[in-house]
């Protein structure tokens, strides 16, 4: 008889017009790490909001049993009091406060409203030790990296005497080393009796750390699998998409032409920290019809390289040459870069890519308004017609081109950003993490789009932190490490191990 800490029975949650959860059952055994997977929109977040009381008792059907006792949470505070803490993808820390202040935020160690700083610091030290973070409790959170901030969040959860910890995409913004560290911590916590629910798109992590996996699809529970022999990633993916994905990457025969785009001797310094060089003597080339990857850990300088090339959008004291078709380009502004046939699809689509309040149409045409206007007057009808063409061809799932981009799913938002840049009719596309936080089905579609662009004779530079993606998509991979290119690997020689070695090899940097 398994010992269940949590049982959710027959949960049904409806929004006007949609049934987000349909008779979902979800059982979690005590002292395990239980993964919850499914495509975007499968209902994972909704289920966790039901569990944590964000959707209070009475707004859904079904029952929640915590330690076999029925619960009726009225809000987050209520569920936290019962020992359920949820850590969201977007961290909920106050950047201007210290670690200690954040750890006890809303849960202050105080006597009659006066904070007991002594107890606060002391307990923070103890909690930080537990999560393996060696920092002074008085350190301001804004000075910490994302990985360390994640650990502070967990310490904060521990301060609330958490029994059931829910992590929503905890490693989405972390590099490999920090991710591993976090997953190790989850196993540690499990050994100390804390049960975790892990929501993640990264199946390799799920397979590495979870004891059981529950798959949701279209608001229903599909199955719960033990992580054991015979269960591999492909098996889980099959459950998530409801079909066999023989190939996670579309088949392609590359047709590679002459050199299209070259960067030579590129150097960039940090915009505010003087003498900190973030890109060092980088040279690379992209041929027509070629998909070239840039691998590297977070902070290796990949995004900085791309942004500094794209109209000097990042950094100072930039030097080096950029050539297209053998002719040197002078790209002082983003406008110059667009006019020269460059496109840069940003890493963070919400912060840097989209106008979330605007509709799909206005987002798609934003970077190429000259194409739909004459003497600065926009032809609104032509604009709509062009945008609808993209909604069709890119298979953007939306009620129409007047739908607000803020209401679309991550995959569809990414397709809007891609459409915007394809519409500028570029020759060279730089794609920065184009599939981050996107479900498996949408990823496949984005890969197809990238391949179609290459087949049209465009050059594609693909920056990605997911090694399988780089290996599956690219004809050639450059590896960056601490601002330098530490290696170049062709499609045939490329293996995860070979790339990883170059990503982490410090000797190659010292070269």
């Amino acid at each position: 008889m398994p010992d269940h800490i949590l049982r959710m029975r027959g949960i049904t949650k409806e929004f006007p017009g949609v049934r987000a959860l349909d008779d979902v059952n979800f059982d979690v055994e005590r002292g395990t790490v239980h993964a919850l997977v499914g495509e975007n929109g499968a209902g994972k977040s909704t289920l966790m909001k039901v569990l944590s009381g964000v959707y209070p008792h009475g707004t859904y059907e079904g029952e929640i049993l915590l330690d076999s006792r029925p619960c009726a949470f009225k809000g987050l505070r209520h569920s936290e009091a019962a020992g359920i803490v949820i850590i969201h993808q977007e961290l909920a820390l106050v950047p201007g406060m210290s670690i200690a202040e954040n750890v006890f935020l809303g849960n202050e160690r105080s006597r009659r409203g006066v904070i007991d700083w002594h107890a606060t610091s002391e307990e923070t030290v103890r909690l930080l030790e537990k999560v393996g973070l060696r920092e002074d409790p008085d350190t301001q959170v804004s000075g910490l990296g994302v990985g360390k901030q994640q650990l502070v969040e967990i310490a904060k959860a521990l301060a609330k005497d958490v029994r059931l910890l829910i992590l929503d995409e905890p490693t989405a913004a972390l590099n490999e080393a920090d991710s591993e560290n976090l997953l190790r911590l989850l196993r540690d916590l499990r050994d100390h009796g804390i049960t975790s629910i892990l929501i993640s798109h990264k199946l390799n992590e799920v397979m590495a750390v979870a004891d059981a996996i529950t798959i949701l699809r279209d608001g229903r529970t599909i199955e719960t699998l033990p992580v054991a022999d015979g269960i591999d990633e492909d098996r889980v993916i099959r459950g998530m998409v409801g079909r066999d994905l023989d190939h996670r990457y579309p088949p392609r025969t590359p047709e590679i032409g002459e050199v299209l785009f070259e960067i030579e001797g590129w150097n960039v310094f940090h915009p505010t920290v003087p003498d900190r060089q973030v890109v060092r003597d980088v040279s690379l080339a992209v041929r027509r019809g070629e998909i070239v990857g840039i691998a590297g850990l977070m902070g290796a300088g990949r995004t900085e390289l791309a942004m500094s090339v794209f109209g000097r959008s990042y950094g100072t004291r930039i030097s080096g040459t950029v050539r297209k078709d053998g002719r040197e380009l002078h790209l002082a502004t983003v406008g110059d870069a667009i006019a020269a046939g460059l496109a840069y699809v940003t890493e963070d689509r919400k912060e840097l890519g989209l106008l979330l309040d605007e509709d799909i149409r206005r987002n798609i045409t934003l970077a190429s308004l000259h194409r739909v206007s004459r003497r600065s007057v926009i032809d609104l009808h032509r604009e709509v017609a062009d945008a609808e063409g993209f909604v069709d061809r890119m298979r953007i799932k939306a009620p129409g081109v007047f739908a607000k981009t803020g209401n679309l799913s991550g995959g569809n938002q990414q397709k809007v950003v891609l459409s915007k840049w394809v519409y500028t009719n570029p020759d060279v596309l730089i794609l920065d993490e184009p599939t981050r936080g996107i479900d498996v089905g949408a990823k496949y579609e984005i890969y197809s789009i990238i391949q179609r662009l290459a087949a049209e004779g465009k050059g594609v530079l693909l920056i990605s932190s997911e090694l399988p993606e780089l290996l599956g998509m690219c004809d050639r991979i450059y590896v960056m490490n601490q601002g330098r290119i530490t290696g170049e690997i062709g499609r045939r020689e490329a293996t995860q191990e070979a790339v990883m070695r170059l990503m982490t090899n410090t000797q190659a940097v010292a070269r």
Binding site: F310, G311, S313, T333, V334, G335, A337, I338, Y344, T346, E351, L352, G353, L354, L355, L356, D357, E358, D359, R362, T365, L366, A367, L369, H370, S373, S376, V377, I378, L380, H381, R382, V384, A385, D386, E388, G389, V391, D392, R393, A398, P399, G400, V401, F402, A403, K404, N407, K420, V422, Y423, N425, I449, R452, L453, E456
Partner: protein
């Protein structure tokens, strides 16, 4: 077919596109409906005085300068900035105008031109600090508010300057010239007819263009109903003005500005850039938009409109006074927010600003007609502002 080809035929999704678009329009219609409700309410409460020709003319003249400011303020707020200095700038430009026309005896058309340029320069000065030096506009324009109020007093040495020549006063209290001697104001009627015809024709042409691109068009019945509604509303408005002294110059200025700025914001590259910079400045910059230049231009524009408002106010008062324009900035900001602007930028429309300004204006006028004291008027207006914005925020959250 390459990815960038334009589709030659209708796309499947165009049918579904009408839904969210209509919903977006409904919000605007909701604002107009609220205005209609307020007008009807006061029409009943004042026993029909509100819509008497004389009072409608008064309404336009009393609110013209706030509407002009509201248009500029709407653009500033869409750009995710604020301008607290417009009242003081209006006073300062009015003061300079008074000195130039009355004391120095310069020809008034020249002075008007100079005043508008001065306003633009003041806007550029403040816009520079906001856009290029990255000082928050709240601080810059708070400084501007004090600076230009002070300078107005310096220029006028604390005194009022009067009177202005007749030609200049037309800008505040004049009417569109009349031809013939009938009881009805013929030019006003003609202007009204022309406006109605222009709007309906424009709508018709837009339908044809949509069909050309293979887009879904609104049903004929809907089009016809809309056309009839437009003709009736414009006709009634024209008639009311024509039986009195015709369309005030102030009204003409406001209408021309509304149409012009609506066009700029909805149909030009510049307008699109203003929304983009306000909605997400970094994304706009990475899309090749000159964000700083856009911000600067929005402030230059605000300065010009503030100067125009100052001229209109001085002309109506027939005097330049150091106290002119007090609290205008607050009226303009309130009008923009009642009219659907968002404090987080990127959202709002010129028509919204006008509707918001009219809501405030009609309430002012209606409550005065009812004999309500200024104390209660202020309190009630404050409440309406909060309610309007709360309603808007509630609607937006519900839409999510």
């Amino acid at each position: 077919m390459t990815l960038v080809d334009r589709p030659a035929t209708a796309s499947a999704s165009s049918g579904g596109a009408a839904g969210p678009r209509l919903r977006g329009n409904l919000r605007q219609y909701g604002m107009i409906a609220a205005l209609v409700v307020i007008v009807v309410l006061f029409e009943i409460l004042t026993d029909g005085i509100l819509l008497k020709p004389l009072n409608v003319t008064n309404l336009i003249m009393q609110n013209g300068y706030v509407l002009v400011l509201a248009i500029g303020m709407m653009l500033v707020i869409i750009n995710r900035e604020i301008d607290l200095s417009v009242g003081s700038v209006a006073a300062f430009v009015g003061a300079l105008t008074g000195v130039a026309i009355v004391n120095w005896g310069l020809p008034w058309p020249l002075v008007v031109l100079g005043a508008l340029i001065t306003g633009g320069l003041i806007g550029a000065f403040q816009g520079f600090w906001v856009a290029y030096a990255r000082i928050p506009s709240f601080i810059v324009t708070l400084g501007g508010m004090l600076l230009f109020r002070g300078l107005s007093m310096v220029v006028l040495q604390g005194q009022s300057i009067a009177p202005f020549p007749t030609g200049f006063r037309q800008l505040g209290s004049g009417f569109v010239p009349e031809v013939g001697g009938s009881d009805l104001h013929l030019v006003t009627i003609l202007l009204g007819l022309a406006a109605a015809a222009l709007i309906v024709w424009n709508d018709w042409r837009s339908r044809a263009r949509r069909r050309e691109y293979g887009l879904a068009v609104t049903p004929m019945l809907w089009f016809a109903l809309k056309a009839v509604a437009i003709v009736v509303v414009i006709g009634a408005f024209t008639w009311v003005l024509a039986v009195y002294q015709g369309l005030p110059v102030v009204g003409l200025v406001v209408i021309v500005l509304t149409v012009g700025y609506s066009f700029v914001t909805t149909s030009t590259v510049m307008g699109r850039h203003i929304y983009a910079v306000g909605g997400n400045e970094r994304a706009a910059a990475l899309s090749g938009i000159a964000t700083k230049k856009t911000k600067l231009l929005v402030f230059v524009n605000m300065g010009v409109l503030a100067a125009l408002a100052g001229l209109m106010f001085a002309a109506r008062l027939n005097a330049a006074t150091p106290k002119a324009g007090t609290n205008f900035e607050l009226d303009a900001i309130a009008a923009a927010f009642i009219g659907g602007a968002s404090a987080s930028g990127g959202v709002g429309s010129v028509v919204g600003a006008i509707v918001g300004g009219l809501v405030m204006g009609v309430m002012n006028n209606g409550m005065s007609l009812l004999g309500l004291g200024v104390d209660w008027q202020q309190a009630i207006k404050g409440g309406v502002l909060m309610l309007a914005v709360a309603f808007d925020v509630y609607n937006k959250n519900k839409a999510k």
